[in-house]
Symmetry: C2
Subunit: 196 residues, 2 copies
């Protein structure tokens, strides 16, 4: 119905997550209305993606061989926070209080999908840990895959380094009655007391 070129664009845009025919059409018409400058921007940024690589130390996304966090000597290189994906780093950095470095697994153990430990960025983690390493913080999602991965890493690192996990509980600003039973149980388990 539409000119071939437009159909091609609509088809290519439908590969984005959650984008169906109608949304892709809407995006395509918007792009069609853009001036040449905006279109060039998008094309240039798509081409730029090719230059992104994984940091050789921590596995985070990086413009160069070493990412900006690993390169930053103001950060405590002896505290390593293990996350599953680069996105998680952004969430933790937004706290503006963590001063250690990261290690990105780029996945989680998922035996049903055939994702085994040796497919994750774990060997590089073992190589990084030395006598100076103070702590490894496991900051993986509290899902089945996340817990499996955390358990695996805990066993692997046991006796070599101090390993800690993030606290579970009720989100700040959340409501008790909206919390699911497991979250509530974790919140009770991890309760803190003002001992007399």
């Amino acid at each position: 119905m539409y000119p071939n070129q437009l159909e091609n664009l609509i088809f290519a845009l439908q590969r984005l997550p959650g984008v169906g025919a109608k949304t892709a059409e809407r995006y395509a018409f918007t792009i069609l209305d853009w001036d040449a400058e905006k279109r060039k921007d998008l094309i240039a940024s798509l081409n730029g993606i090719d230059q992104i690589q994984h940091c050789e130390i921590c596995g985070n996304l990086s413009s160069g061989k070493i990412c900006s966090i690993c390169e930053n000597h103001n950060r405590n290189q002896n505290i390593i926070c293990v996350v599953s994906y680069p996105k998680d780093i952004v969430a933790i950095e937004n706290m503006q209080s963590y001063e250690g470095v990261y290690h990105v697994l780029n996945g989680l153990i998922n035996t049903s999908k055939g994702i085994l430990p040796d497919m994750l960025n774990i060997n590089a983690l073992l190589k990084r840990i030395n006598e100076e390493t103070e702590e490894v913080i496991l900051a993986v999602d509290p899902t089945i895959e996340g817990e499996t991965t955390a358990l695996y890493l805990e066993k692997l690192l046991q006796g070599h380094v101090k390993v800690s996990k993030l606290a579970h509980g009720i989100p700040v600003g959340g409501h008790l009655d909206y919390a699911d039973a497991r979250t509530l149980a974790k919140a009770f388990e991890g309760r803190s007391s003002n001992e007399k």
Copy 2:
């Protein structure tokens, strides 16, 4: 936080309609995970957009100077359906029963936004209408802008050619109690009777 190249892509994707920071990030990560082939497809289709032009006869989007509908001699070139945007043609073609041709205004009169009749593709419409033209069907949205445009065209074409408008009423498969008062009023106005 992310490598520059990724930030640039997230920024460029946020220009799409209804796409905020989170969605753009999700799109960007998906694109990052794509193999080179898929990324090339998207870039090629974005480049292809430059070749799309407006049909010299009807104003529809077209790969060449004349669109595929105007070029099709099996269609009745003497019945012209006036629509506001190329998208509307797709909706009408999906009926698979209209055999005339189209004329795309590429907009609707909107005085508050400064869109005046001379900014629309109206002159080309007047040039197309000749003694052989049987009917001009105004198929514009039943919005204020649409009705204003329809009224303007009706007056302009009065005495030159037969002008008709689409019927208003309750959508097929719709429910009476969900119809708004104006639609219902139009449905009553346009009721058909089986005269005895």
